[in-house]
């Protein structure tokens, strides 16, 4: 407004100068030799009066503007300042919202694909091709591929399915390894339902995939089914820090194992593919893991329940299984590499029962146990190379010693021990070639010493 005022003042000054200029010119001319004619004088007078009228009008406008400026100034100085401020803030807020809308739109284009939803899934899995040549058994190839689908519809919900395809004997098999739904209750607890890998010790749940299992064979106690790989039911699990240490846990309620009683060779064993439970009593199990330091985990597991078929003479047979596990992994500068130590043990105590034998009824103290210690060393800090492509740091040496003690008729009561030595070459962190040799010692039965090779990958 001040600018307008000054602009008007300058305009008035210019107009005044122009208005009086003809009179000055006329006076100059009149002072000359040529006299001013009446006509010229009338013209100048007319122009003068016109300018005078314009001047008066501009002056009036100028006064009016002065008054308006004074009024505005009074308004700013008085209570209207708040109105101005409010108007300005409203305008600024509107502009800010408009800019934020544009930014939000751009961010949405970036973040939408990251949000959970119908398209938020991952395809993973594992595959393995094995060749083994064991004493007293025909050598053979084997193959298995298990695609895994992970789907995260919301931030708390996760659906997981793994289906295994493979060959066994003369048949092709397709098996649902696991199918589970998990819901994150809070930072320290997750609830899971479905068919899940059993959190008993850690082999089945964490180490059984061929690209994670450092040996081409699985430990004897799992091969012979002391504990099965999966359970069908519900579980709660999680972990929480305790100072510098950490505790994790899992508790589950599942269909539980069933009791083998129809065959002489397997009488007293437990079966873990009990998808339609054989009795009304479900099994309860759990595991507690403790990490005194981040590299070391110690665990205790148990599983208990009724295993006999309801309505049969075995309906009162119960079992109690418990186990311990240890895992340790760390890279040491002193040995230029990583040391990986894993050990587990299981004890199975099932009620004594009387079975129908081929000739006479028989019974035995139905206890089974097994344990293994496995150590692996990989010189990850070594720079030694053989040619352009083979690096010592990709080579891993594995040694496993294990024992199994079973009770039962005939040779099933024999002690079984096995020493396995293996060399792995890691092509990539998830692709490995394994070669190894197992030395068996089965008291009272044929040994199954043998070589094996395996190619395994994980996605």
């Amino acid at each position: 407004m001040t600018n307008i005022y000054y602009s008007r003042a300058v305009t008035l000054a210019v107009l005044a100068a122009i208005a009086f200029a003809p009179l000055a010119v006329a006076q100059q001319e009149s002072s000359g030799d040529e006299p001013l004619t009446r006509r010229e004088f009338s013209k100048f007078l007319e122009e003068y009066r016109q300018f005078q009228a314009d001047y008066g009008k501009l002056r009036q406008e100028n006064e009016q503007l002065r008054a308006e400026v004074a009024e505005l100034k009074d308004g700013v100085d008085s209570g209207s300042r708040e109105d101005w401020k409010a108007d300005f803030e409203a305008f600024a807020a509107q502009e800010r919202e408009s800019i934020l809308d544009e930014v939000r739109e751009e961010l949405r284009d970036i973040t939408d694909p990251l949000l959970p939803g119908k398209t938020n899934f991952v395809l993973g899995g594992a595959g393995v091709v094995t060749f083994q040549d064991r004493q007293n058994v025909d050598s053979t190839f084997g193959v298995g591929i298990a695609p895994t689908l992970l789907w995260k519809p919301t931030d708390r919900l996760l659906l997981e399915v793994e289906i295994a395809f493979g060959l066994t004997g003369d048949d092709t098999f397709v098996e649902l390894d696991y199918a589970q739904v998990s819901y994150l209750l809070n930072d320290y607890m997750t609830i899971t339902g479905g068919k899940f890998l059993t959190p008993f010790n850690t082999f089945w749940e964490r180490w059984h995939p061929s690209w994670i299992n450092k040996s081409a064979t699985i430990p004897l106690m799992y091969e012979r089914g002391l504990v099965g790989p999966t359970g069908l039911g519900v579980q709660v699990r999680g972990g929480f820090p305790i100072g510098e240490t950490k505790l994790n846990y899992a508790a589950y309620y599942v269909n539980g194992p069933d009791f083998e009683n129809t065959s002489f060779g397997t009488a007293g064993n437990l079966g873990f593919e009990n998808f339609r439970d054989n009795n009304n009593d479900k099994s309860f199990g759990g595991r507690v893991g403790f990490l005194p330091i981040p590299e070391l985990e110690l665990g205790y597991s148990f599983l208990t329940g009724r295993v006999g078929d309801s309505g049969s003479r075995f309906s009162g047979v119960d079992t109690f299984i418990h186990g311990i596990d240890l895992s340790y992994a760390r890279e040491f500068e002193a040995i230029k590499g990583r040391l990986d130590l894993r050990a587990e043990a299981i004890w199975v105590d099932t009620d004594r029962a009387i079975f129908t034998g081929p000739f006479d009824p028989f019974t035995f103290d139905n206890k089974r146990s097994g344990w293994f210690v496995q150590t692996a060393y990989r010189p990850t800090l070594s720079d030694f190379r053989l040619g352009d492509s083979i690096e010592l740091k990709n080579t891993e040496f594995v040694l496993r010693y294990e024992q199994l003690r079973e009770s039962g008729p005939g040779t099933r009561g024999a002690d079984h021990s096995r020493l396995t030595f293996g060399i792995n070459y890691w092509i990539r962190p998830n692709i490995v070639w394994k070669a190894g040799y197992s030395h068996d010692n089965v008291s009272g039965d044929k040994d199954e010493n043998g070589f094996f090779m395996q190619f395994a990958f994980g996605l």
């Binding site: 694909p113 990251l114 959970p116 938020n120 899934f121 991952v122 992970l150 789907w151 996760l158 997981e160 998990s182 994150l184 809070n186 930072d187 320290y188 997750t190 899971t192 749940e205 964490r206 690209w211 994670i212 699990r237 999680g238 972990g239 929480f240 820090p241 899992a250 893991g289 005194p292 330091i293 981040p294 590299e295 070391l296 985990e297 311990i324 240890l326 895992s327 340790y328 992994a329 760390r330 890279e331 040491f332 500068e333 002193a334 990583r338 130590l341 050990a343 043990a345 004890w347 344990w371 210690v373 740091k393 024992q403 003690r405 890691w426 092509i427 990539r428 962190p429 998830n430 994980g458």
Partner: protein, 111 residues
């Protein structure tokens, strides 16, 4: 057999703890950098962050994941895929919510 096995486990645990605590006084190369292999089979050394939340994420990543398997190259998966995969591993390996968030954040920043 039970007592013998328990003795073996106890011995292993004690030896492992002592070894870790002794080595803990030394500089840990594994936390400064990690060598991984990309999809083309080329080895790549990733310098791990040494401060801030991503340092905590890198530490949680190495300590939890390496206990069972080799560390995977963060470049193998997209941000969205790591979000799903680490959620899966949270359930499988009993990670806490904080460990879950730290590892996701680190992997998404390093891929």
């Amino acid at each position: 057999m039970g007592n013998r096995v328990l003795a073996v486990f106890l011995g292993l645990a004690v030896v492992a703890t002592v070894a870790s605590l002794t080595a803990g006084c030394q500089k840990r190369q594994s936390l400064a950098e990690i060598t991984v292999t990309d999809d083309a089979g080329q080895r790549e050394t990733i310098s791990l962050p040494q401060e801030g939340r991503n340092q905590a994420g890198a530490l949680a990543w190495t300590q939890n994941c390496m206990r069972c398997h080799n560390l995977r190259n963060p470049n193998e998966r997209s941000d969205r895929e790591w979000d799903v995969i680490v959620h899966h591993m949270r359930v499988r390996a009993n990670l806490t919510g904080e460990e879950h968030r730290l590892i996701v954040r680190f992997l998404q920043s390093a891929n």
